[in-house]
Symmetry: C2
Subunit: 507 residues, 2 copies
């Protein structure tokens, strides 16, 4: 990857002055057009070796363009807020919205590369990190992000010279740390890791651009011109009327009437008295679990999905009734806000992830992508088809971080729904809960059923399985929900306890 | 993944008889339309647990459709031909051409899954295999293949029942082997490996379809109907006039005139006498190396690329002059044949890969994709942009198999090319070597230069680096080529020798 960048590239002052002036003007124009266009964001990753001018370039870009519309984020030590969430969280919250330019100084590649060079992770683990990065970047590109990845390169001799220069000048001495020299000694090892890394994470839609870092003027023109050309090319693209559909059908036309929902016995017995007893028991257990010391290093994310009028809200209230109101947040998902529409669709869920010791309850969730958006045609077939993988990746990131995940689908029969709709229309204080849309959705009952079955098949995992809740009897449904959630949390606490003891023993 | 498939699906005889008759007719029609359309091939992967009806389904599909246009390939123990080539070779040579249906009974997923279940590879190695499969399948889909992946599932109870049935019937007893029972004992482990595998390798363009295997009629209708729906959907797709271009520019507009080609000193000194001496020496060494016993377990692939009239042919003849003519094959790459055009573009190169103990010399190669096809616009920008990764993957597969790879770019100056063109026009027996096309290509000198630099940057790897050959002096060029090739082979022989000794010591 470094063949061209290792040459002695050079731009002289006079040429630079002339070209830079022109480039600045053109970049400003492009930035303005990007805002006007508003259809995509630009995300620049700034990466590479120390001393190759990354930080100077970031400063320069901010100087050249209108800094009010450039969002620069540096990723160094994570904050406590960040440490208590999955590793990707810090990147998601810094994503630029459509129409703006984001600059990431360091990003998701930084840690895996350093860990591999330092021997903290092995080839296999590194391969897994690469695969994750590939999927994350693919998702961003599929969502329309113009992802530009710049790798600043210096030959070993150039880096030695540069670090010495910086270290000898009192004004820049502070910039050269012990760690920079330590990394310098590992120069060859870095190249051995980075060269295949750059090749493997280069794709047609987001290739790494290697920038020779030794000559400040050359590298400034190089990055600026590439950014300009990339923006201009994308801005010139007319929206395509019809994307080619390359997705085959997800499931065969059914050969019988059986599916995971129809296989359920929806009328489960439970009397009011039994319910009251059970509820007291499980609310008590849940409350105890939520105050367990071990819960301070984990969090809970629960998803409530189900037919309209299946009783999601009621079940959720029985859960939160057991909890300290400072420890949980309810997130009700309806149409996205303007800010949310300017981001990849998972962004609105990432932003609500809880810190340690907290619960987040999603009343409807990211599964809207493969349910309502699929059935109503709010997104293309290609979009919801790729969402299964994206959702599995998203939940995988949560699970690896130790988040306890529970996912409920509350099912009622078509008759029971009719009864509840009618009832809601009759009772004044329930009337707000029933709208024309509910009646419209009901007409698409079969399409929703198919979508739910596909969802269950493709997103149930051993650590985050779907719990199908028979909900014709509300008592049964509520108890099943709180019981499942409570047991999941208790199980996680127990495992954490065991792991804690093991670690103590090791010490 | 197995939630729906674990239900007791069932189709009764009368329904089946009626539906199957209809389906057969429709499948035949679709097959005929596929041939007429001729724009894409269908590739069905048949996978899953033993006893779930894979082989019955394959037979049925052959019975239902016109078997002359269905190409069924079973992959069991590799043949000696196959063992001496990279693992993927057997799949490439079985790919169906456009307009036909290929059925792979077992495929690239089979070995990694079994090896993981048996503990022969670890999590990290398995992750790498998955990443490779993802890239291979993405490439096939990008090349237009309609890839349909069927996973035949049985619950543990169903599998036990089925194996017992087969074993108790004298007519089918032979089908149940010791290994089937061994795998059956590992049922849970298989599910634990396969469930995430299926999710990770499901994409929008090629999701796994899980087929419940217990009821023969249900599974036959399921596979047949899905195949039909998928073919019909793709056949109904009209060719898209303009694909959205989502690729940013590959390299910035250059800020100086320097690049890896211009940095070369093209006029290298070498007299005829020196040349004769050197040639004798290196031809001798190459001949010795080619007859080394250790060469019988490796092979050589050499790529000759370069400017028109740079002397590729002449350099190649000096190499082959040192070899037994039975040990090598020259493959000259021009326009693809009709058969080749009906396949993914790398197919025509896979088919020529040498067995152990052999050389293949490519006079022009797969790099045409990122050179002539890019410059002349024979393929879309998205196509050649993704080709860098595809080529790296292709060469990676060769390298992992122990193939010795050498890649030459022969460079001459624009003036030297002019001189040689003129000379060729004058000499009668050389006139066939110069055509109008050569003069046309020459006009695109700069565009080719950019393409070559990108190619060198993005496909030079530590084990398969590009060797840039200064070729204004033919003597120098020929010696550099044969010397580089000879040393690469000698190095590989030496490493093989060391590895051999190590293995002997271990024993």
């Amino acid at each position: 990857m470094f063949e061209s960048a290792s040459l002695k590239h050079y731009v002289d002052k006079a040429v630079y002055r002339r070209e830079a002036a022109k480039l600045r003007q053109e970049l400003l124009n492009a930035q303005y057009d990007l805002m006007q266009n508003g259809r995509f964001p630009v995300l620049m990753l700034i990466a590479g070796v120390e001393g190759a001018g990354k930080s100077e370039t970031v400063n320069l870009l901010n100087e050249w363009m209108d800094p009010r519309h450039v969002i620069t984020s540096g990723f160094f030590e994570p904050s406590d807020e960040e440490r208590e969430r999955p590793a990707q969280w810090r990147f998601w919250r810094a994503l630029p919205p459509k129409g703006k330019i984001g600059i990431f100084f360091g990003a998701w590649h930084t840690m895996p590369i350093i860990q591999r060079v330092m021997g903290e992770i092995n080839e296999g683990e590194f391969a897994r990190e690469i695969a994750e990065i590939q999927r994350l970047e693919k998702m961003l590109c599929d969502e329309g992000v113009l992802l530009l990845k710049y790798w600043f390169h210096l030959s070993k001799g150039q880096q030695r010279k540069r670090l010495k220069e910086l270290a000898s000048d009192p004004k820049t001495r502070w910039r050269v740390t012990e760690r920079d020299w330590q990394y310098f000694k590992l120069y060859k090892k870095f190249v051995k890791v980075c060269d295949p890394f750059l090749r493997k994470t280069s794709t047609g839609e987001s290739p790494w651009i290697v920038v020779p870092g030794a000559n400040a003027r050359y590298r400034a023109l190089t990055v600026g011109r590439h950014l300009l050309a990339a923006m201009r090319e994308r801005l010139a693209e007319k929206p395509v009327k019809r994307q080619p559909d390359k997705t085959p059908p997800l499931a065969p036309p059914p050969a019988d009437r059986l599916n995971v929902l129809r296989a359920l016995e929806l009328d489960q017995p439970m009397t009011k008295a039994e319910y009251a007893k059970e509820l007291e028991k499980w609310q008590g257990r849940l409350n105890v679990a939520s105050r367990d010391a071990r819960f301070r290093s984990m969090s809970v994310v629960a998803v409530f999905e189900g037919n309209d009028a299946a009783g999601k809200g009621g079940a959720l209230r029985r859960v939160t009734g057991a909890l300290d109101s400072r420890s949980y947040r309810n997130v009700s998902i309806a149409a996205p806000t303007e800010e949310e529409r300017a981001q990849p669709y998972l962004w609105r869920f990432w932003r609500h992830l809880p810190r340690h010791g907290k619960f987040t309850f999603f009343d409807r969730s990211w599964y809207g992508r493969v349910l309502v958006e699929r059935v109503e045609g709010f997104c293309s077939e290609a979009d919801w088809m790729r969402a299964y993988t994206e959702i599995n990746d998203f939940e995988g990131a949560l699970l690896r971080h130790g988040v306890v995940m529970v996912k409920f689908w509350l099912t009622i029969s078509k008759d029971e729904q009719f009864r509840r709709f009618k009832q809601r229309e009759k009772i004044a204080f329930k009337r707000f809960k029933i709208t024309d849309e509910d009646w419209r959705n009901r007409k698409k009952w079969d399409a929703y059923e198919t979508a739910v079955c596909d969802m269950v098949d493709r997103t149930s995992t051993s650590l985050a399985p779907w719990t199908l809740v028979e909900a014709n009897n509300k008592y049964h449904a509520r108890i099943k929900v709180i019981k499942t959630l409570c047991r999941a949390l208790e199980g996680a606490l127990e495992r954490a306890g065991k792991a804690g003891k093991k670690n103590k023993k090791k010490k």
